[in-house]
Symmetry: C2
């Protein structure tokens, strides 16, 4: 039986998860695949450091270059994270024509195009299922399972931390800061939460998925992003009363020749399947022109879910080694030469608007006038009773309008003397 | 560029969907895959018959054998259905070492093992993503995307007709027969509905999924099946009051060395993701020992969803032809030699029981005595007010018990003089 020797670079959370997964299910995988999977070496920065997985001492090295170059190593797993040394590890392995498996979303996002060019030039292959939505085999589904389809829409709950925070805010009626602190204590959020709560993590993931779906590489800088810091329990409560919940969505729409792509909080109708994706779970709704709507749901992060994705990439790499079909599914096929990203200004959606206004006659008229001049129709207005104090909340649902018009009107509204505090605007997604 | 010539056998609903899909997206698929896809011929029974897809006359033949044997044909699609001629088509193509794509669940279910043996002997390959849950790439996900996992649980809403009927019964409060007749008019149910509503279609699908998950072939005859004919609007209403909805589930559980597998209606907690799968949609919840829960959702049937699955198989076959990796993922790997199916008698679950009883003192005591002797605990009892007439409904929720004990108690209860009409028992699934 063909033996496949794995060289693992990085043995932190994900790396340890992979070592444990291999120890538990490596033999089963081998019998499913008809190969013998073997851990050939583990390169780490600090050989003496305690780690979650037990690794035989003879397998540990601090010299990743020697491990990657070892002719006995058939496949390299880059699970160290970061984009500097990781970039070198991947480049070195590819130079030797070895298949590389990575869970490194930042690396793919930042250097994907040049890595893909190297694969094309040197052979080998790059597998990165674990880089997006860990436990969900979405990259395989997009590239293989749905390959007969033009992808018309893709909506993703792509960041477990944000989804956990929004779910808890709704369930417990507690503020963002409060739930974030709790999530940090429980290990669901990083000490430096910006990457998650400001939407950048989802931005990277949405970019990779959109690129695969549409056949041209979309950089994070081309993707509008807005995080969840400004969402309050008031917004969640008012959205709920109108039959919506609030989710951080990655949204990718094919509109004519253009692709509209953005990451921002959105009001989602409460009966929609994505509304029921709670806690740290991720889900991706993909609409193909032939298949219709499909939903892909699972844990998006964590050592085990990510390890599962790495192991499925290992299975693919092992099969490609066994069958001599290394470049069978290239990491990225740029099949769309004319692809372009639609500027966010032109994105059209309905809007939720929450203002803090002084409760005096004429206020609504002034706001309505600004919206009227911007050609933005008002769908409904809610001024809930029971709020006392200098200012009261005024909630408006607005009809479809271009983002630019809304942004402009929003600035004018913010300057009205009757409007206290910064207005909160959240886009509404009806999944049309 | 490598050209892949497709020989299509059968051009009914699914075949026409594939022809249309190829016409629409064949060039896109080709650029994604780096091959040229070409329809090389279409074998039909009646050349003159009108069909949904436009096929050039020169491609049409009534001689499937000549088409399959034509050396220009690289890959054969068996989309005729049935198990007699279809079996011959598949056997002939495999004999020639050609890859075969089929959407024929009945064929795989009945003759899977002998077909798989032929693939092993003669080369070629068999692709059958379309045979289970059309638009959902569940076969690829089980065999590749989740290949690093032991599958602990699999729960599937596998029959769109039943799910449509149950969804409509709940939404509109109308009876099974009424909704079935409507579904037949709308084309969601066959004139002869038994295959769907008695659970046999789901039984075939559950068997294929369970076999892939557990590595030994499970025949439909080994799978307990119960359909949805006995479900009434009363049951749906009482279930709803207790926080459940009713779904026809395929249930596959790994319990020690055994696999428990059944298809039957079940009470599903209304907050569970599967409870929110409505209408003709299918969904499969897969729990892996590493990845945790994943959900795979989409349209399970219909020309387009099935065509999408056939096209994804075509993509795999084309890549395998291009790379000379034909047997890369065999149709079935029997990796579990000791696998066995647990008899349904031993399956343990809570139960919902609806009786029609005479409203007189002592009735409940007699029923409770039978349950007590069977060691089945009563969790709750509901005797709703407002029912008049000779008998009234009595609803009981029962604690975990073996199926055999429940069945025995049920027979005794049915014989009590206070119990009118046949008792309705529905298993409860808590997804533990």
């Amino acid at each position: 039986m063909r033996k496949v020797n794995i060289g693992l670079v990085g043995c932190g959370t994900v790396g340890s998860g992979v070592v444990q997964g291999l120890a538990r299910n490596g033999a089963l995988m081998g019998s499913r695949l008809g190969v013998e999977l073997s851990l050939g070496g583990v390169a780490v920065r600090n050989a003496g450091k305690a780690r979650a997985a037990r690794v035989a001492k003879r397998l540990i090295t601090t010299d990743w270059e020697a491990l990657v170059r070892d002719p006995k190593i058939d496949v390299v797993m880059e699970l160290m994270g970061g984009t500097t040394t990781a970039r070198k590890v991947v480049a070195e392995a590819l130079k030797l024509g070895k298949p590389v498996i990575t869970a490194n979303k930042a690396l793919i996002s930042a250097h994907g195009e040049s890595i893909f060019r190297q694969v094309e030039k040197n052979g080998g292959n790059l597998y990165y299922e674990a880089a997006v939505a860990g436990g969900i085999p979405i990259i395989k589904s997009l590239r293989e399972g749905l390959s007969g389809n033009r992808i018309q829409r893709l909506y993703g709950i792509l960041n477990g931390t944000c989804n956990y925070i929004l779910t808890q805010m709704e369930a417990e009626g507690r503020d963002f800061e409060d739930i974030l602190a709790e999530a940090q204590r429980m290990g669901y959020a990083e000490a430096e939460p910006s990457l998650d709560v400001d939407g950048f993590d989802a931005q990277h993931k949405a970019g990779i998925l959109a690129s695969l779906a549409h056949g041209f590489w979309i950089k994070p800088s081309q993707i509008f992003v807005e995080g969840i810091r400004q969402i309050t329990t008031l917004d969640i409560e008012f959205a709920r009363r109108m039959g919506y919940c609030i989710k951080l969505l990655g949204i990718v729409k094919k509109l004519g020749d253009n692709v509209q792509i953005a990451v921002h909080p959105a009001l989602v109708p409460e009966r929609h399947v994505l509304a029921n994706v709670s806690g740290v779970y991720n889900a991706i709704l993909v609409r193909g022109d032939i298949v219709g709507d499909t939903l892909h749901y699972g844990q998006g992060a964590g050592a085990d879910a990510t390890a599962s994705a790495v192991l499925s990439d290992l299975a693919d790499a092992a099969l490609d080694l066994k069958n001599g079909s290394m470049g069978r599914v290239p990491p990225f096929v740029p099949h769309e030469e004319k692809g372009s990203v639609l500027p966010m200004d032109k994105a059209v959606s309905p809007f939720y608007l929450r203002l803090s206004v002084i409760d005096r006659p004429g206020t609504l008229a002034k706001i309505a006038a600004v919206l009227g001049e911007a050609k933005i129709g008002i769908c409904s207005v809610m001024q809930p009773e029971g709020h006392v104090g200098e200012s009261v909340p005024l909630i408006m649902m607005l009809h479809d309008a271009p983002d630019a018009a809304m942004q402009k009107a929003l600035k004018r509204i913010a300057r009205l003397s009757a409007v206290k505090a910064k207005p909160t605007m959240i886009r509404v997604e009806n999944f049309d």
